[in-house]
């Protein structure tokens, strides 16, 4: 059998792919930012919090990490709306992604925070820093630095996983692909195109997080050039 590849749909539909990719970028950057914030707070609770707070956070992390994102998205979008909380597909997508990202970030940042030695906290205490100041200036950045590779690959995984939000018809990249393929019947070609776009996005994200790391961790940058 011979199959004629036909990518001619691109001539007409490329703006759809661009706007889909743009929505993917917006959705994921928003989710990463908020998810990271949620996860960091939860990780701090897991390490320094009272047992009363630690337990619900642990429950949240286990619950999210042991159920599929697809089902989480369904619960937020269909489930909450049936309970009377009507949210747009995009809002639901961001909420589900933030909740998901938060759980994974909690585990990653927890490892980072636990790697900060107690003596660092004592030193900060002896200098008169408050608990909050200690966390902000002494704990967080070095903790993040230590787990940054795991963190940034989790960010890329989230970007890829955001394709799942197409299932509640948030009009991101994968949803665009679904639309185009049902119009043109060139399914295989359409998904090859989006696969390439996702690949490009993941390379872009990796580069972006690497650059952010250079800015955040000035010491690493300096020592690498100094040595």
């Amino acid at each position: 059998m011979s199959y004629q590849f036909d990518f001619s749909f691109l001539a007409e539909r490329w703006p759809d792919f661009v706007s889909g990719a743009w929505l993917t970028v917006q959705l994921t950057l928003l989710s990463i930012a908020f998810g990271f914030a949620v996860g960091t707070v939860c990780a701090l609770i897991r390490v320094y919090g009272s047992p009363l707070l630690r337990r619900p956070v642990g429950f949240y992390v286990e619950l999210i990490r042991n159920t599929p994102l697809l089902v989480q998205i369904f619960i937020v979008y269909f489930g909450l709306s049936s309970l009377g909380l009507k949210l747009s597909a995009e809002t639901s997508a961001v909420i589900a992604l933030v909740v998901n990202m938060g759980a994974y970030t909690t585990e990653i940042m927890r490892a980072g925070i636990q790697s900060i030695q107690r003596t660092q906290l004592e030193a900060a205490d002896c200098l008169g820093l408050t608990r909050l100041q200690t966390i902000l200036h002494v704990v967080l950045l070095p903790a993040m630095e230590r787990v940054y590779p795991a963190l940034s690959s989790q960010f890329v995984l989230l970007m890829l996983a955001s394709s799942i939000t197409s299932q509640i018809s948030a009009e991101e990249l994968t949803a665009v692909a679904n639309n185009v393929q049902s119009d043109t019947y060139r399914s295989f070609e359409v998904y090859i195109v989006v696969a390439v776009v996702y690949l490009a996005l993941s390379v872009l994200y990796r580069f972006g997080f690497w650059a952010v790391g250079l800015v955040l961790f000035a010491r690493k940058r300096k020592l690498r050039t100094a040595l």
């Binding site: 003596t119 660092q120 004592e122 030193a123 002896c126 200098l127 008169g128 820093l129 100041q133």
Partner: protein
Amino acid sequence: MSAAEAVVRVADVVKEFGALRVLDGVGFDVARGQTVAIVGRSGSGKSTLLRCIAGLETVQAGTIEVCGHAVGRPGSAARAQLRRDVGMVFQSYNLFPHLTVERNITLALSLVKKQPKEAARAKSAEVLALVGLTDKTTAYPEQLSGGQQQRVAIARSLALEPQVMLFDEVTSALDPELTAEVLAVMEDLARRGMTMITVTHEMGFARRVADLVVFMHKGKVWEIGPTAELFSKPRTAEFRQFVSSEL
């Protein structure tokens, strides 16, 4: 010594870790400008005592007063007061690895003392000059030798202008030549009239610099007295034995 001039007063302090009694009724006073050396074998409770004075440990009984304020009172105001009065230098330096030398020093100045950036940097330059590290402002801790790191740690504490400085075996992790440069800085501080309590293994330093020596044994103050007197006429067999083993 009258009560008025005592900067640090330790009285009947008991500290237990579980069933283990580490400090068993410890007490002594430190006058302003005095340098006190706490010596003793490892496990004698000397580091724990220092940590209690620094407010890093809570005591089960007894009182510790620094500049007339009781250590260990609850509340952030009391804690802030203690931090203004006491500076602490650790065996493991405990510099913040992600901050430059200058930022290590200015961090508390800007966060705690709310000093403007320029004033903080000027202060940093001043204390770095005191410890002889003016040229290391922009270095990161791991670019420095252990001795240099420890001098930065001393400078970091000094910048906050404490009434009392506590030194917890600050040279134990260092090679002999690096030890010497740190001890020189401490000797200089003592000469400038800083009130200092140091837990140390350096008997030479204790003899040369300390005004008062406290020998701890089994969680108690076993012997205490002016340095020359104590070393020339040890009263107890334990101290005699300790001194000869440290030589």
